[in-house]
Symmetry: D2
Subunit: 347 residues, 4 copies
């Protein structure tokens, strides 16, 4: 089969990374189209890739008959429109989180995809493709830890971009742990509370940092997440599940261990999410490309063009994070209410 | 100087351990008197120790002119009376936690000691004498982590004695983390909340397990504690401080590492608190013996017969834990109110 | 540019793995031809890959004008002939170790490639592409450890195939540490000694196991290697460099850590070389494909079609291992003598 | 029973440490006499200890009827005479290593003690009292690793005193691993070889550093030891046993783990042998004091006043180290020949 022709919409940090990934490390796909609201940037990038065009309007790119699938790395507020266009054109799409920026539009996307009877949308929660999370999930599924009761998470960034505010911590950082919770526990989050302890004096104005998120799941399990995005240290993600028959932790991050400076031993922590989760992104994109090609090869009958979290997962994460933003203001637990999934056949 | 003559009151598990410790591993002290409400037990133990008598009434033991100092390992409800007797007789006393079982009597003990103008009471929070906690405290005091903002604690027991109920988790387990918080952060706890997630199906009736305690300190720092006392695994105590300039963790518990069973590497976790903190107890008792001997050698002028947490620390822990027991019922945060320490000169 | 058309010669365990890798995870290449002395096996495999043919004679496959590059996973004794054919046809080739099975033929291959003035041969020492070895090499090159003095290696397999004998330990296992030594220290090995301690009672007849290899490099550095291939535990590869300013170790192999069975903590060791070095193979093949494509794109002028160890590295490893086999018989150190590299311009 | 009256001979670094230990941390013993060839030093020290005298002549101290037992921390060359005096006066003695400085005098001590029919001499190999070595030995004795085949040791010092030369590495550092080998494997060493790799440029003249020692035991097991005493890093002692059913390692030295400097995690290594083995010394001395008191309490009938390695262990270590010094000159393996232990009844 010939290579999948992918349109990458949005070629900022994340999108440019994906272009490089597809061109350099992914089997069976090539970047056929790039698009960005900064057209010069997209034009320049296209010029470096054999057989790649720059298309000015993202909706044109989606509609393009020479495009088999879409990778959405545009800003969140544009997602709804672009996702609906993908659905209209029956184009499989891998959408970087968030699905959309508010619960209502996310739900609309879920409904529209469900009406089609085809799973075309995959959401980019890449941790589900990380070897350690996969091993942890397998350990849970095999029952080695018994029923899981508690989840402890740590999410630390050395620094954040200018303008990153308190709500970004919830929407852009916590969102990953929300998905990790749903992935590991196979159930929905029922309430979320954001606690704000003594702030880091190095945090800029407008940014409450650290924050502690306390989630409760539908069946009553407890999740706590330390979110600390101005540590100055490194990118640290640690997850511990406590079950009835034992506990398990990932993210201890031991590789090369050195004894050098007098009296000290130690190692290096991955500096950023691309180093920590680079391989997870590779796995994610490769498996998505494989799933889309399998789907396309199956022709009209095909109903699934995904291999990972779908639109519902994106919707659920958005609802939890928006409840988190409410709690950020009050400090109180906020209940999370999802529509009844069974009321949307196919979701 | 001749050996310190210690009366050990209460020779159950803990007290018998201390008798063995003083006789076998502590320099400058000997067990002169033992006492237990089970007099046969005390008699039998005394018979095995050269120069040791069994005394039937704890108050007689305290008053005994051949007793220089008292080690209190009796049940909590008897502490108030015995501590006050120690104060009356000016006998230095090391009191196993709790100081007393309710805030009011604890406060009374604090006041009475303060009136004497002598520090005679030390409370047995042994973690302050553990090498790892000492190193963590030193790291904080030297400013290596910057200002501490968050504390994550895990406290797991493989099993608990028959009759151990939900409030014991707060009073007997959480109490250690309350003292660790006060020790590491040098400030009081201002509120406490107990969250009860999905319970462990192996926990007996009457025991909510696990529990999550969420503390807030006077200056607004956040502390979370997982308390899980029926894990079936081992005795695990882990503490992580997150500061403005980095984080530090103790309790990872690596010693002998083995690769044996096919495909598996690992080590052994200390099975119980005596293995984990045995050396801390040795340090605690040796330093207490040294402090008492130094005090006694100084004669009338001496005002301090302790080298560790005192009556106020015991009072503060009791108040926090009782607030915790209230929260256990409601699930809501409960404010902690201590009397103004400055209102009690000498406390 | 169109995909590189690769002929994979030998589709046993290793070759079949590479076919799967190129088809499923490598960008810019496809398997155009497969070959095996078991022709049915090759035919069956070819049938599952779109656009792939089975060719009965490996020399025909090499000569095939529709083949751009060759991946050699055939048995060692056939390598010489096949490599020389690749040189004759100017076909870039990635040759699984060993280069050839004896020093003389290895040297002949080195000479013939040097005469061409083009680097067409890359040898499959995949550890050079493993993240941890790469980090260790970088640390050495940046001078962080000062001058390296000593190297400790451990190489353990849970089991070996039927027929694996004492000399296989040297030729098939030690060979990797020989290359690691040369890679990390950038110099040749000057002597090798094999010590045979008390044997493992589970080792089959004909297999001395464990063996201890002691290497000395040209400048006098010391290397010791524990080779133990019937441990029954797991695939364990550990390497420690000791330098003038510190030491560094890789292979501690911590990922998911679990506390489950009473009193025990631990994790899983990678069961085999494919799990441990799977990603290194991916990196190796991707970088080789990229280098070959870059070379081919450059046309006649191109002189390098490799990105990794070359024919000389294969030759040097073969000479050291054959000296090791001699030492296996005597237990004494055996000097290693390489031809003067400068006497072969271009080698 | 009254406290054991100990004479500490030699109050340099090691002896002074033991004085402090006995006075401050050991139950059932006190320092009754101190002695040093620097009499002022001994006098000054005695003045600080209640009930302690300084005695100018070590032989007088040994003969003193107010001395129950002797702790020998004098320089090695004086040991023979002092040990024989202890035997003459039937004084239990704990002798810091070496037993004596040459095989012949060590053997003489073994013979003389054997003639008495009483075990009076214990040799100060403190690692046998370290928790981790004890756990490793227990694991071996319980058969968890199967038959042990190979032992890997690392012994690193940050620095050594002025005048420490190549033979000191063998006699003062390797001697510990010689005893560890004999302790863990319960058999004698049959040959020893010292390899000298590229030297550390920071090592002073006269000091070959690092050195690699290769031991072979009577039954053919292999032991390798890296000895590196000018690392500038820390005091590092690591031991790994490889057995037929698995391997086990001690000395990984994880305690407080910190993430602070950008991108780095790590901990602290014990700076010196007193920090690393301080607790082992405590255990050693306490158990020796207990054994001697038990022996003395038993009266004339008592035949054992030790609880640890004896004169034979000191003799065997001396013989192996002297063979090591020979190998230091030649680089070749040197056979180790002990007298037949059965030829000395009681040894």
């Amino acid at each position: 089969m010939s290579d999948l022709r992918v349109a990458v919409l949005g070629v900022g940090l994340m999108g440019a990374d994906h272009v490089k990934r597809i061109e350099g490390r992914i089997s069976g796909a090539r970047v056929a189209v790039v698009n960005d609201y900064l057209t010069d940037k997209a034009d320049a990038l296209a010029a470096t890739i054999p057989g790649c065009r720059s298309v000015a309007d993202p909706l044109d790119a989606i509609a393009d008959p020479e495009v088999d699938a879409v990778l959405l790395a545009t800003p969140g507020p544009t997602h709804e429109k672009q996702l609906l266009a993908c659905l209209d054109h029956r184009k499989p799409v891998l959408c970087e989180k968030p699905l959309t920026t508010d619960p209502q539009s996310s739900l609309e996307v879920v409904r529209r995809e469900a009406e089609l009877g085809k799973r075309l949308i995959q959401v980019g929660f890449m941790r589900r493709f990380d070897d350690e999370y996969v091993a942890l999930k397998a350990m849970l599924d095999e029952g080695e830890l018994g029923r899981a009761l508690v989840l402890h998470c740590v999410h630390r960034n050395p620094a954040v971009p200018h303008g990153f505010d308190s709500s970004n911590v919830v929407r852009d950082s916590l969102v990953h742990e929300v998905d990790v919770t749903r992935f590991l526990f196979d159930e929905e989050v029922s309430s979320v509370q954001i606690v704000r302890p003594t702030p880091n004096s190095a945090a800029p104005e407008g940014l409450s940092d650290p924050q502690i998120a306390i989630l409760r799941t539908a069946s009553g399990r407890h999740v706590d997440v330390e979110l600390f995005v101005t540590t100055g240290v490194a990118y640290e993600v640690r997850t511990e599940v406590v079950g009835e028959h034992g506990s398990a932790m990932i993210g201890l991050d031991v590789g090369l261990v050195r004894k050098g400076a007098p009296g000290v031993w130690g190692g290096t922590i991955t500096p950023g999410f691309r180093e920590r989760f680079g391989r997870a992104y590779d796995n994610e994109i490769q498996r998505w490309v494989d799933a889309v090609r399998t789907g396309l090869a199956a022709g009209e009958a095909a109903t699934d063009f995904t291999d990972g979290p779908g639109a519902w997962d994106g919707y659920a994460a958005t609802v939890v994070c928006e409840a988190g933003v409410v709690s950020l203001g009050t400090g109180e637990p906020v209940e999370v209410t999802l529509v009844d999934r069974d009321s949307i056949p196919g979701a």
